[in-house]
Symmetry: C3
Subunit: 151 residues, 3 copies
């Protein structure tokens, strides 16, 4: 077995990567919850048990559901690259303090981003959370490329 | 070269991760197939060779195409976190039998999920396949966090 | 610290994975740019500073924005599996020349795919770029499965 999991930077990466992935995974149950409470479904088989006259009405698009779905998609677009770039970054041997700073800022940003998206907080709260998270990933990508560059 | 690929747990992870990623990748050709057979395209350049009067009609949304696309998006939302959390889980040194159980259940769930989504099987078949797959990922995430927690 | 980053194949993987992930990440600012220049927003809080009578008009769907978003989603569907399968492929000990060929072709395909999508180049330019990129990932997946197969 490799000794990756005895390296402190890699352990920190594993911790924060798992946490932000868990946060992302929780958007799916939240979408399901919104679909049920708002009565807005996407598939005919999802409303098959309802009375026939209600079914058509339930196959609709609801703004609250779409909002949670956009938040979920934004997570996919940002959390997955963070974890992938972060994996390479953790393997490239950074300082623990520097790595922790990157991971903590990103995790904080994404939690705040989800809250500000789902609760529709006034802008630019969501934009700033998104941009700062992106900067963290770009900083790690720069660090990786400046150490390993085999083209 | 590292000896990761001589570790049985990691080899099992590599096998199942590749299989579920292949399954996810196959949703794209299936979407393309649906777009052609249903005549429902998203881009003007995709219908440029058709007669001018037909083009407008072909730039439309078809329920079958949307169904396959939702299935694809659901794969992205679930398969990618499984592979990422599974990678950390495989590196954290679990028992081979326990790891195989996680990987096999997840792969089975996702294949069944796709079939039940694309064929519109009666609920709760799709919901159960999705929920069981999510539980597998959550179980691996719990296992990772309980072993490495550097905050 | 593991010696992964001293392996040439892994360094090449890290380089190209970071590059294609960066390309994918840049689709988000491009979407934001399109939203502002076209005046097409998705959330009410994004247009809160505009005069009340303009707000409704700005909450709309614009074809240029949707085009960039489809391009971004296509990246998610293809770049993320490439990086994940590529990671396993790089760990399975391929020849450096063979690995570089895979990585370079894929990166080229995805850059050309984005250009042909955003600029709406005549088909089949986009379709070919997508298909060739998919073939690279399938070839790496085949290589992984032919070396490690623990079911």
């Amino acid at each position: 077995m490799p000794k990756l999991m005895e390296d402190e930077v890699f352990m920190a990466f594993a911790t924060y990567a798992t946490i932000v992935l868990l946060k992302m995974l929780l958007m799916a149950p939240m979408t399901a919850y919104c679909r049920f409470t708002r009565g807005a479904f996407a598939n005919e088989e999802d409303v098959a048990l309802k009375p026939a006259e209600e079914r058509k009405k339930l196959l609709r698009i609801h703004p609250d559901v779409e909002r949670v779905r956009r938040c979920h998609l934004n997570d996919l677009e940002n959390v997955v690259p963070f974890v992938l770039v972060g994996l390479l970054y953790a393997l490239s041997g950074p300082e623990l303090s520097s790595a922790l700073l990157h991971f903590r800022v990103f995790a904080g940003c994404r939690f705040f981003h989800s809250v500000s998206y789902v609760c529709a907080l006034p802008q630019p709260s969501r934009a700033l959370a998104w941009a700062l998270g992106l900067l963290v990933t770009l900083s790690m990508a720069y660090s990786v490329l400046s150490q390993v560059l085999v083209l």
